[in-house]
Symmetry: C2
Subunit: 195 residues, 2 copies
């Protein structure tokens, strides 16, 4: 993305800072700039040389996380039976949510809500499109707003992440649990839940 006019070592440091920030903030959403700079193997002053404030660093980290997420999601086949497509989409989405959810907490503490929503728009639209198609084809319920169905997916995944953290379920169990739960939750009233 734009070789830009930076010197090679500067660009290398920027990358290191972004990577270190993603890692630190995923462990502790309140990670300080000193902590991040140290993890990046760089002086704190250097960090401020590239990012004018902690908030702008967070924003950049978040943008990058969303971008890599979008790349994974773009490879998911969303055609064919909506239910099968949903299962495939959940599989990939779950890995992303699991990996980035603490980062999201960090971003929410610093970035204006509008910004957070703006950056979430693309991945959310992807889910929304699939759900809309499924609704049109009678596979998913239409008695609740699509945006609500999207948020359910989001929150069930977050819940799974919490359960893992609490040690009540394992990472491997999560995906099938999520799938079973969402397929049932999306089933049109009066229809049978898929076995």
């Amino acid at each position: 993305m734009a070789g830009s006019t930076k010197r090679a070592d500067a660009q290398r440091n920027i990358d290191a800072i972004l990577a270190a920030a993603a890692e630190c903030l995923s462990r502790n959403p309140a990670a300080s700039t000193s902590e991040i700079a140290k993890a990046a193997g760089v002086g704190r002053v250097t960090l401020y040389g590239h990012f004018p404030s902690r908030a702008e660093l967070l924003d950049a980290v978040f943008v990058r996380a969303i971008a890599t997420g979008e790349e994974s999601l773009g490879q998911v086949d969303l055609t064919g039976d909506p239910r099968a497509a949903l299962i495939r989409l959940i599989e990939t989405s779950w890995q992303l949510v699991d990996g980035f959810r603490t980062l999201l907490v960090a971003a929410q503490e610093v970035l204006p809500p509008a910004r957070v929503r703006e950056l979430h728009a693309d991945p959310m639209a992807r889910v929304e499109r699939l759900l809309e198609r499924g609704r049109a084809e009678g596979a998913f319920r239409t008695d609740l707003p699509t945006t609500w169905l999207v948020s359910i997916m989001h929150n069930v995944m977050h819940g799974a992440a919490n359960e893992i953290q609490a040690g009540r379920i394992t990472s491997a169990e999560a995906a099938p649990y999520i799938t079973a739960t969402l397929l049932a939750a999306y089933t049109p009233p009066g229809e049978r839940v898929l076995v």
Copy 2:
């Protein structure tokens, strides 16, 4: 709970501090002791005279919130058709989650996870008992662990709170959405979702 040996004005201040803390922390989970003391109409020193540390204050606030919650939940009729009982339980639980969720965030930042879980045990057991009975009677699915079903309820409600905060749904819509979602999610595979 133990009239204790405190003087009347001291007890009055303790109550004021707890009430102010609950209110401040519900608006901002990072509220400082100065902020809370001011809101209680009390000097900061007085606050520290009654609560040895911010963490212990948080604990006391949390304990009180759980206690009042338990009182409401105790009045819910959980007999009869499990699905109908669940709807009644959701109604009351939702109001509690909606009111206390920010407080929970504050508590989680300061209290050890074991303590948070300990205080949640009673309300969670209540849900768990109803779900177990419903499972035994064939009303709810048995292909997923009960604890997972409990966490789903928790997280769908949290999700609803987020949606309200984001302005995508209103407080009035929330309860029916939650009910419809959970009843479907809990439906045994192969059975029809209640209309």
